[in-house]
Amino acid sequence: MLELDRVCAQAGAFRLKDISLSVAEGESHVLLGPSGAGKSTLLEVIIGLRPPTGGRVTFAGQDLRNVPAEKRGMGYLPQRLALFPHLTVRENILYGPRSRHLRPSDYRAVVDSLIDATGIGLLLDRRPDTLSGGERQRVALVRALAARPSLLLLDEPFSALNESLRHELWHLLRALQKEYGFATLMITHDLSEGFFLGDHISVLIDGEIKQTGDRDSVWRHPASVGVARYLGIRNLMSGKVIESAEQAVAVECPAVGGVLRVNLLPDRPRPEVGAEVHVGIRAEFVVLRDADHPPKEGEFILHGCFTAVSVAGTDVTLLFQPEGKDLVLELGVNRRLLRRFGIKTGQPVMVGLPRRDLLLFTS
């Protein structure tokens, strides 16, 4: 439905480079990236408010090169929502259909059902500045969908809301999408939001798409060290390949003082012997071992102690330092494990790095 083919754009000194991605009908595509990665610039190009300096954007088979924003037929939900403060909620919602010169009979049923689905029926005569944060989001969603766009673009619209309200709106967006069948392209820097809402994820860093794929593959197998770091993998160790076979490689890692054996993914290139690489592992995949929970086959075992214990709600982050090494590994556990192992700072402990969870990044 939406296709970007090697799109380039300039915003001041910042450049978007060769962006290619596609959004299929009814798909939820999330563009993840840190602040300043160029996400909003890319959205402006797609909407038609910033001309690309190269490449091609097509929507529903039409080249959008000379198509102005008002004729592209996409819905847009910006970060600050931009509800028109001088109009009532009803006037805000009807702004789109009226601008497109639709007859009331063409949009009334859709608008009424959207109002019902979002529960904003009692707000129609109010002005945006009298609404709560959640009400404003719902109104902005209905306004963006009132003209029945087949693609809705969202620019971090839920970023200013509290956690529970955000979850509520994520579910609402999912439900609306299921009912009305529109596709979404959402940009966000929030990993939990991105992985909750996105069937398909693209990671944009420094103006370039570093990885694109379905949600699980991106989460499980980041394509590079940069993507891994952005996706929250902080346990990254550099090393050199000393054996390279069809399905696995052996990497000598001075940081752990040994050789890590890492499985290779079928779609990733096999590094040559001698190649400089990084091995990574998610904090939640590093396992605690003791006499009751002995190491399993294929685990690389490290002895050391915890240097810090941080508790945030039910999640606990532990910092582990192997004996005589400069390396610090992060472990993600829950409160139950914290109690079971009686974890304290300075306590000697054994941790395991399961081979199946090790990730290989060629430098």
Binding site: E44, I47, G48, L49, P68, A69, E70, R72, M74, G75, Y76, P78, Q79, R80, A82, F84, P85, H86, Y95, G96, S99, R100, R127, R143, A144, A147, L153
Partner: protein, 259 residues
Amino acid sequence: MRFGRATIACALAVLAVYGLLIVSLFYFFDGTAILEALSSKRVLFSIQLSLVAATVATGLALAVAVPAAYALSRYHFRGRELVDAILEFPIIVSPAALGAIILIFFSNPVGEWVQEHVLQFVFAFAGVVLAQFITTLGVAVRFMKSAFDQVPTSYEMVARTLGATPARAFFTVSLRLAGRGLLASGVLTWAKALGEFGATIMVAGTMAMRTETLPIAIYMRLSTADIKGTVALILVLLALGLSALYLAKFFFRERRART
């Protein structure tokens, strides 16, 4: 707290400076002089001329300034920096010099042709309007630009994605949201045009019952050492200006109450 008090003292000092000057007028205040001035055909003509000329000049300035200010606020185009810099031109060269420049223009072949075939400006009502228009245009654009700058561009972006053409987005969103600032800018532009003197006297002269605006009438009274008459006319000008500002504020309050 000490800093806060210091800034408040400065604010009160501003009031003191202008208040002292206004109060000092009353040393020469003469009620009969005011009544006499207000019943004089020549003074009434000056008031009428000032009001009409300032209104026409402001209308013309706004017709150019609103779209120009919007362009400066929203678009990056070749020559934008130059346009932005030239807005201060009327302030830098002073109104008198500006009037002289206008006169010099009308002494050139192009200016002479305009006077002959289009409209007589020098020593005419059109000259008064032109002088006020040129003096206020730059300031009007500057004021209006800051009014548009206050409106986030995201409103227009959303309006466009909802199907509005750039013109519809301008008229239904940007203009409405910048409205209060634009009206305030319009009133200030009008007040500046009303008080314009230097350029007007250069271009239109001091012809009684023809090009004598209120500020020029004040100058003429003072040049004949008629202090009481001068004070009377200053107070009339002051009353007109303050009434306009008060009306504008009243209007804004009413609008705010309704929105």
